[in-house]
């Protein structure tokens, strides 16, 4: 984890066991942590350190965080996470760190200039570019992240992570599929887009890509982007004449009783020689016959189809004149379950601080191997190319 100094705190007494305090000016919005460099003089004495953060202008307490010191080792960065402060950039803050044990032997590193206090610089420029290796895997050159969109993309990815469930992973898998296309993609159409989390990210990261997001109901559109337009479209209606380089639907077909017709209509919107991506719940053919799975799929998710097998999708793609370029599972249980459980234990500040780490762990879901059961992996995705 890279740490960037946000300012050194002078006149700070870094004596073991003594309270320390300081003042700094935040360099960014969404300040979410203060990190100090600490070391444990005597590991036999363990205590808890509490950081309190005050608005220097008003004296109001704006955040607090506590950390045990049992495993603090030499010069270890000790992070105090707290709920992000949206308008923190340029504001002065005062902090105090206290111990609950007078005999504490944890000291903060200091030199002649005082304690070096550090914080995560921003939401991480890395979040905006996190998916670049996948988006460019077939050798495409990505445009630089537009400065105007950098903060937006960072926030957008962080939001997808914070929302838990599958938001970030849907985006990651889509980026992986998109990046497998070795030729330029100028136009894209998304079916059943909802509020278009994935489409909005691609619109921001790839400003030259013209995206049409469609859904049977036009919903609230929280992501206005110049190259992202919305249109009402029922997948069961006959397709129009407009065709696209890349057509996708994410967890859409399972909600449609006549999914073959929906797939046919979706396929008709792809230009000859161009590409289609779908992701749907996974179930083997045998599992699809399981009444319990069928009932849960309907009652919990309103899925007419409890899941699709590789064979089902291979047939669908072949019937509609598509060559399958890539097929793999997604939402592997051994990845998503522990990450999800750990996320449940995190407070807002910890989630914020760990957003990049959580994203990296979730990216382990990008595997190529195939699962034998929906109990191993909950989703499946296909990328195909239309004949022509």
């Amino acid at each position: 984890m890279s740490l960037a100094p946000i300012g050194s705190v002078s006149a700070l007494r870094a004596v073991a066991g003594a309270p320390v305090s300081g003042r700094f000016i935040a360099g960014t919005d969404y300040l979410h942590s203060v990190t100090v460099s600490a070391h444990n003089v005597d590991s036999e004495v363990t205590d808890s350190l509490t950081l309190r953060l005050f608005d220097d202008a008003t004296g109001q307490l704006v955040a607090a965080a506590q950390r045990p010191t049992r495993f603090v080792t030499s010069a270890a960065p000790l992070i105090f996470p707290f709920a992000p402060l949206p308008d923190s950039s340029g504001k002065a803050y005062r902090f105090a760190i206290d111990t609950d044990a007078p005999a504490s032997r944890v000291a903060l590193d200091a030199d002649d200039d005082g304690v070096q206090v550090q914080a995560q610089p921003e939401y991480g420029a890395n979040l905006a570019r996190l998916l670049d290796p996948w988006l460019s895997q077939a050798g495409q050159t990505l445009p630089p992240v537009p400065p105007a969109f950098e903060r937006y993309l960072d926030r957008h990815v962080a939001e997808c992570i914070r929302l838990k469930r599958f938001f970030f992973l849907r985006l990651a898998h889509l980026a992986d599929a998109f990046g497998r296309i070795a030729e330029p993609v100028s136009t894209m159409c998304s079916m059943g887009a909802g509020v278009a989390y994935q489409e909005a990210f691609l619109a921001g990261r790839l400003p030259a890509l013209q995206i049409l997001a469609t859904d049977a109901e036009l919903k609230y559109q929280p992501f206005p982007m110049p190259n992202l337009r919305f249109e009402q479209l029922d997948l069961l209606d006959a397709p129009g004449e407009e065709q696209f380089d890349f057509v996708l639907s994410i967890e859409c077909l399972e909600h449609i009783k006549d999914y073959r017709r929906a797939f046919r209509n979706q396929a008709a919107r792809v230009k000859p020689g161009k590409y289609m991506y779908i992701s749907v719940p996974f179930a083997t053919r045998e599992e699809q016959r399981d009444p319990e799975l069928q009932r849960d799929a309907w009652e919990l998710c309103e899925h007419y189809t409890p899941g699709f097998s590789f064979e089902d999708l291979e047939e669908l793609f072949a019937e509609n004149g598509f060559e399958v370029l890539h097929a793999s599972n997604m939402f592997f249980v051994d990845v998503i379950l522990p990450v999800r459980r750990l996320m449940e234990t995190l407070g807002p500040g910890e989630t914020e601080v760990a957003s990049e780490a959580l994203a990296q762990l979730l990216l382990l879901d990008l595997r190529t191997r195939r699962a034998n059961s929906c109990r191993q992996a909950e989703g499946v995705r296909f990328l195909g190319r239309k004949a022509g």
Partner: protein, 488 residues
């Protein structure tokens, strides 16, 4: 129209015809044999061909040119490459007739020579009366167990008379890991005392060989000197490759077996996870008492908190130890190794752990060394500390070039006969775990501790994303030769 996977892609065919590739590797799998041939024959690029898409994905991720096709029916452009390699491939074909077809096709495609590596099926009848077998001689995936006399007949039928067959992998006694008790289950990859029970200790009255390297010279104009340089196994006896010289692509072969032993992701007991990792060692150990369980959990927690890579070192070292069947004495060097060794000793009280070599022990069954970036180790001492038949485990980060060079130099001069390497700490998992632990601090519950271990276990089966980002280090598990086995 859907793509016909049996046919070679038109672009690939065009590239072959245009002379883009120096050789074709039939049955390239995930790219290991492509890599081997590029280095061995110093000709590149090669084109790998295989049927299994998942393996090809891995090969592509490692930068190899590969294509999907049915090798039983493939037709390649005439004289389009210097040579065709078939490493551990022909035994997977249905029968000798299919082999004849394949050799004919590849013989037409190659200008200079064919290179075949074939496991030995010569000694089935010799070993059976001794109650033994070679591991690969009853694999379901080997329907075509051709012997050398079959090759002689095939080559004669094809009109090939200029060929060299060189036996390799000498096996002198039953201590070799590929020698199994004859009643070991079919498809067993290597001897495992915990699974297969004891096997007879026998020194064979002749040297068996595990494999043959076969070279067929197709181009009579190929200079003799060049042909001699090609048709040799000199310099290729050892599997050991300097980690500094190339990217490591091998992983411990029993990964899938091991992964299937892990409890499902719904399991939130850290002890179930670590016992699954150490299944050989704990198979005969008593269940831990509540006090021991608490102590073990504390040790795991200490590994978690030993940032940045303490937890990854923990799972990799336990995994390697589990591979080293029957080790009872352990020397652990380096803080990460010492922490994990303390866990081993607590879980399996019969295991003796030292943190510095004790001359009175007369060597160790398992020596684990995880050097820190700041502290160099005395490799000569460590290598000498491994008993004959014992194991050396080393984990180094990719920025420890000097350490690797010293290790290379030392190991290459010693009688070691088994080398297993794997990447350690895929970039995503290493950064992800470290960042997560930094953010949450000490795991607050046993369930959180188990979930962190569960995630670290994913590093034993690297994900695609990790291979794109690259690993942070490598591990080596090296077995010292057992010298002077018991007589029959």
């Amino acid at each position: 129209m859907a793509h016909n996977a049996r046919m070679l892609d038109a672009q690939v065919r065009a590239d072959l015809e245009a002379g883009k590739y120096r050789f074709v590797d039939a049955g390239c799998g995930s790219g290991g044999s492509l890599d081997h041939c590029e280095r061995r024959f110093n000709r590149r690029p090669g084109l790998g061909l295989d049927w299994y898409g998942a393996d090809l994905d891995i090969a592509r991720e490692h930068g190899f040119a590969v294509a999907h096709c049915d090798l039983k029916t493939i037709v390649l452009p005439h004289r389009s490459v210097d040579f065709v390699s078939m490493m551990d491939f022909l035994e997977h074909l249905p029968d000798v007739a299919a082999t004849h077809r394949a050799l004919e096709a590849f013989g037409r495609a190659a200008r200079d020579f064919l290179f075949i590596r074939h496991p030995s099926f010569e000694d089935i009848d010799y070993l059976a009366p001794l109650g033994l077998k070679l591991a690969w001689t009853d694999w379901e995936a080997h329907p075509n167990m051709m012997r050398i006399e079959d090759y002689h007949r095939l080559f004669a039928a094809l009109g090939w008379t200029d060929y060299i067959i060189i036996p390799d992998l000498p096996i002198r006694d039953s201590s070799h890991g590929a020698i199994l008790p004859i009643d070991a289950p079919r498809d067993t990859e290597a001897y495992d005392e915990a699974l297969h029970g004891p096997k007879r200790a026998i020194t064979f009255d002749r040297v068996l060989h595990g494999k043959f390297d076969i070279f067929v010279r197709l181009n009579p104009s190929l200079p003799d000197e060049e042909w001699r340089a090609i048709a040799t196994i000199q310099g290729w006896r050892s599997l050991w490759q300097s980690p500094g010289a190339r990217k490591i692509r091998h992983d411990l072969h029993d990964r899938e077996t091991r992964s299937s032993r892990f409890p499902p992701a719904t399991q939130t007991d850290v002890h179930a996870l670590t016992d699954a990792l150490l299944w050989r060692a704990v198979a005969h150990a008593e269940a831990p008492t509540p006090a021991t369980r608490d102590a073990l959990a504390e040790l795991v927690k200490a590994c978690v908190m030993a940032r940045p890579d303490g937890l990854l070192h923990f799972v990799h070292l336990l995994d390697a130890f589990n591979h080293a069947t029957g080790a009872r004495s352990v020397l652990a060097v380096g803080a990460d190794a010492a922490r994990t060794a303390a866990f081993l000793a607590a879980r399996c009280p019969s295991i003796q752990v030292d943190l510095a070599p004790d001359p009175a022990r007369g060597g160790y069954d398992f020596v684990a060394a995880i050097p820190s970036r700041s502290a160099a180790l005395n490799w000569d001492t460590l290598l000498a500390a491994v008993k004959p038949g014992g194991w050396l485990y080393v984990a180094v980060s990719h920025d420890q070039d000097a350490t690797r060079d010293v290790l290379d130099s030392a190991v290459c001069q010693l009688p070691y006969d088994s080398f297993l390497t794997a990447n350690i700490g895929g970039a995503l998992i290493a950064a992800g775990l470290d960042g997560l632990v930094a953010a949450i601090g000490e795991p607050a519950s046993p369930e959180a501790l188990a979930d962190l271990v569960r995630l670290a276990l994913l590093d034993l089966a690297p994900a695609r994303g990790d291979s794109m980002a690259g690993p942070i280090g490598a591990r080596y598990l090296i077995r010292r030769q057992r010298i002077g086995t018991e007589a029959a």
